[in-house]
């Protein structure tokens, strides 16, 4: 019964987001544009010459980028919601309900992410197929990939929640999200797999949780390693445990110092 309410919260947010289907489809223009630019770039770099860097050729690079960008753009943008609710006091309604606020936000996040991911995956697959053709993946690999993508999105939620909850202490969380975005670009391996990085940067990326949000699942799509899958999932779960505890801790501390404006 406890989980049922969260499922319904997710469901209602899913329905609410479908009210914006037109906007969402329009929003994939940016995704299409980025994929187009990178397809052109890698066609020049890897296409005719057959350039392969660390096992990533033209086709792998395009599919890698399709996957990493789908996760990047398909994640729900809950950061604005949480920060605004804390700042404006709209959190009042959520606090007065028989659910955990973070659980509520998590359910909302999945409701929106489900819509966005479905649209971005569909658009991404269509573009990648048109540009470079199919990539070889088995049904088992796709199942394993789905697990990793799910964990990556949970990890992203927790990082975003931790940053958003800073609104209990600071006036504006936008700069922190700007930094998070850039960390995903670089350490997350948004545009290129970390195998292409200089050694020191690659080491830093692998040691960060950001790597497990984009790089790990995107790489799993193009270069599936069955032997390493268990360790990868364990690492993702480890980061989820750490950041989950941090988010719950920040929330517990923050809610005690909540300063809801009178109304």
């Amino acid at each position: 019964m406890g989980a049922s309410k969260y499922i319904h919260i997710g469901r209602i947010n899913f329905l609410a987001k479908t009210a914006y289907m037109g906007d969402l489809l329009l929003g994939t223009t940016f995704y299409t544009l980025i994929l187009f630019v990178f397809v052109q770039l890698w066609r020049v770099l890897g296409g005719p010459s057959g350039l392969v860097v660390e096992g990533f050729g033209y086709r792998e690079m395009v599919w890698y980028l399709t996957a990493s960008e789908a996760i990047m753009l398909g994640r729900a943008r809950i950061q604005d919601d949480i920060s605004d609710e804390v700042k404006t006091g709209a959190i009042a309604y959520s606090l007065g309900r028989p659910y955990h606020y973070l659980g509520f936000k998590f359910a909302c996040y999945w409701g929106e992410t489900a819509v966005r991911m479905l649209v971005h995956i569909a658009v991404g697959i269509a573009i990648a197929l048109l540009a470079v053709g199919p990539i070889q993946v088995t049904a088992v690999q796709l199942g394993a990939l789905a697990v990793s993508v799910t964990l990556a999105l949970i990890l992203n939620f927790l990082i975003v929640a931790c940053i958003s909850l800073l609104a209990f202490w600071v006036e504006d969380t936008v700069p922190f999200f700007w930094i998070y975005g850039k960390l995903l670009f670089v350490l997350g391996g948004l545009f290129a797999p970390v195998e292409l990085y200089p050694e020191a940067l690659a080491r830093a990326a692998r040691a960060s949780p950001f790597n497990y949000v984009l790089y790990v699942p995107a790489r799993m799509l193009v270069r599936f390693d069955a032997a390493a899958w268990g360790n990868t999932i364990a690492a993702q779960l480890g980061w989820i445990a750490v950041l989950g505890a941090l988010a719950v801790g920040l929330y517990s501390l923050g809610v005690r110092r909540l300063n809801v404006n009178g109304g």
């Binding site: 009210a19 709209a90 606090l95 028989p98 300063n259 109304g263």
Partner: protein
């Protein structure tokens, strides 16, 4: 807790630390290095109790501490000190458990899902409160009939009028049959008809289900028509706790009348118990002492002066009532 006590508050204090920045560039630079804070005592030692089934107005000017008190009583804010129980529970310690026995409406916030019809929010709330279908479906039918929601139950909230939305907000807060209903400015921004509808509905729920109502409002009309008891808070202190009848008798002795007549008013206007505050051609602003003069008499006098093109009759503001309370030496 006594069986009949719905809300019990003792010496409740809430101090906010508010960042204070000195003016100018120097002040901004200084604030980067060291933020100064000022303590603001929003609620300062408030004590009261509310019996089950009572309808209590909690009034005061902006920043008086009424919303802060309600937010502490609903468990949203932690008090700096003091004690409170609502239906026998300490709000900030048992917030989630308490949420099942209280309902809240914050007039300036919405709990409805903006892009979805109200029905979806109601269904979601039924799941959130873990209500069995056999309980919430008949309850929703009853509320939809009583609040006249049927016509727009399936219309997206964004397309509803403010009055329709507020009816949905209150119905949503009552879905889980709470024992105490906190209404924080539920009529803010509504027109006269919508305000009346909301007041009637709240009163009806109180009479029929025995729901305890604690209402904050700037609108004296809300207080007069819904509540039997009124508490006045100012600067975080409870300055008056009395019946609405006593408040009306002792501190609401006047009404302000603004009237526009079709022709300029000539000569001295001499209506007993009426003070002319402003006059310009056919426009008059009058202060009527309702303890000595009935509004019927005032209107009869005005109609003798000419045809009334427009008229508004306003109760004293909460600020004026508080000024009266202080003037009375209480």
């Amino acid at each position: 807790m006594d069986d009949v006590t719905a809300i019990k508050v003792r010496d409740l204090v809430k101090v906010f630390k508010v960042a204070h920045k000195r003016p100018g560039l120097a002040g901004s630079l200084r604030a980067i290095v060291r933020t100064e804070h000022v303590d603001v005592r929003a609620v300062d030692g408030v004590t009261f109790s509310v019996e089950e089934g009572e309808t209590v107005a909690f009034i005061g000017p902006n920043g008086a501490g009424k919303s802060t008190t309600i937010k502490m009583l609903t468990g949203i804010l932690y008090p700096t000190s003091g004690e409170a129980t609502v239906t026998g529970m300490t709000p900030w310690k048992q917030r989630q458990r308490l949420s099942r026995s209280i309902g809240c409406v914050f007039g300036q916030r919405s709990q409805l899902w903006y892009h979805l019809p109200p029905r979806d929010t109601f269904e979601l709330l039924a799941h959130v409160y873990e209500l069995p279908v056999s309980q919430w479906k008949p309850r929703l039918t009853t509320l939809a009939d009583r609040f006249e929601l049927r016509a727009f139950m399936d219309t997206p909230v964004r397309k509803l009028s403010l009055g329709q939305r507020m009816r949905c907000e209150i119905a949503a807060s009552l879905l889980h049959a709470p024992r105490v209903l906190f209404l924080d400015e539920p009529t803010v921004g509504l027109d006269v008809m919508a305000k009346r509808a909301i007041r009637d509905l709240v009163l009806e729920m109180n009479r029929e289900e025995g729901v305890t109502v604690l209402l904050t409002s700037h609108d004296v009309g809300d207080i007069e028509q819904v509540c039997r008891r009124v508490m006045v808070i100012n600067h975080g202190h409870l300055v008056l706790d009395t019946t609405v009848a006593a408040l009306r008798r002792d501190f609401m002795k006047s009404k302000t009348v603004r009237v526009r007549l079709d022709s300029p008013v000539e000569g001295i206007l001499n209506i007993p118990g009426v003070e002319v505050l402003k006059r310009k051609r056919g426009n008059l602003k009058l202060l009527v002492n309702t303890a000595t003069t009935s509004m019927d008499d005032v209107l009869a006098h005005l109609m003798q002066l000419g045809t009334i093109e427009d008229i508004t009759i306003a109760d004293p503001s909460t600020e004026q009532i508080i000024a009266e309370i202080y003037a009375s030496g209480r």
